[in-house]
């Protein structure tokens, strides 16, 4: 049960938006505010999602920006990208989420009297 639960995160709309924004360019690293902008989510809302995807499921990896803050005059950023294998798992999960959403919508759209 627990391993099944661990295989895939709950595909909430914000989770799907975050994954889609990272999948747009899987090789590109993005920091938190860029992910928020790409996903169309308000800043400050994605860290629980990123934490789950990175630490619990291993779909993401992150690293500190390689700068010296005192030279650049600003703090270093934390960059995220899809981990090896994470992109594929994310694509599958998104496809499954879209299928199940489509099925639900299809069932709801079906007039009750016309059900076989």
């Amino acid at each position: 049960m627990s391993s099944e639960k661990r295989a895939r995160p709950r595909m909430t709309i914000p989770t799907q938006l975050v994954l889609r924004s990272l999948l747009a360019e899987p090789a590109r690293e993005l920091y938190g505010l860029q992910i928020c902008a790409a996903a169309g989510l308000p800043s400050g809302t994605i860290h629980p999602i990123l934490a789950r995807l990175e630490h619990e499921y291993g779909w993401l990896t992150s690293r500190w920006e390689d700068i010296k803050p005192e030279d650049e005059g600003r703090p270093r950023r934390r960059y995220y990208r899809l981990a090896e294998g994470g992109a594929e798992r994310a694509r599958i999960a998104l496809a499954q989420a879209a299928t199940s959403a489509g099925t639900t919508i299809g069932l709801r759209a079906w007039p009750v009297g016309d059900l076989p």
Binding site: S2, L33, H55, E56, P75
Partner: protein, 140 residues
């Protein structure tokens, strides 16, 4: 090293926080920073406090220059404290870095406070995710 007194407790705590901030800013191992804090304090309370003041001024100057709203930075510090101890430093720094970027992009007081409040609201969820990931990896 002299025997610690109650009067030393607050400046000690303040200096320990500064030492850890300093370590984070320069990517120094926090343990080394704490060792340094102890030896600095052993050399003399006044010297250690003067050093802490210099560090605090530098930090505040940098934030002011970027236009960071101090109360938003305070909210983020508090949000980081709600996370598991092992993750506080990393996420604390990440939150502050994003606030800095937000301020540099011209975000005003309200937007920065909104960012701080949203992080604070979601800190419990982030803490829960981090704790459950840690439990999961310990079980494996």
């Amino acid at each position: 090293m002299s025997t610690p007194t109650l009067a030393d407790a607050r400046p000690r705590a303040r200096y320990r926080v500064s030492a850890l901030d300093y370590a984070r800013a320069r990517d120094i191992d926090p343990l080394s920073a704490l060792v340094r804090y102890r030896s600095d304090f052993a050399c003399g309370r006044d010297r250690a406090l003067a050093h802490a003041r210099v560090l605090a001024c530098a930090r505040a100057r940098g934030r002011r220059a970027a236009g960071v709203v101090p109360s938003a930075a305070g909210l983020l510090t508090f949000a980081a404290r709600l996370l598991p101890t092992a993750d506080r430093a990393r996420y604390g720094e990440e939150y502050q870095s994003e606030l800095w970027d937000l301020a540099r992009s011209g975000a005003g007081r309200l937007r920065q406070l909104g960012y701080g409040l949203r992080q604070l609201r979601r800190a419990l969820a982030a803490g829960f995710a981090l704790r459950s990931a840690r439990r999961g990896s310990a079980a494996r």
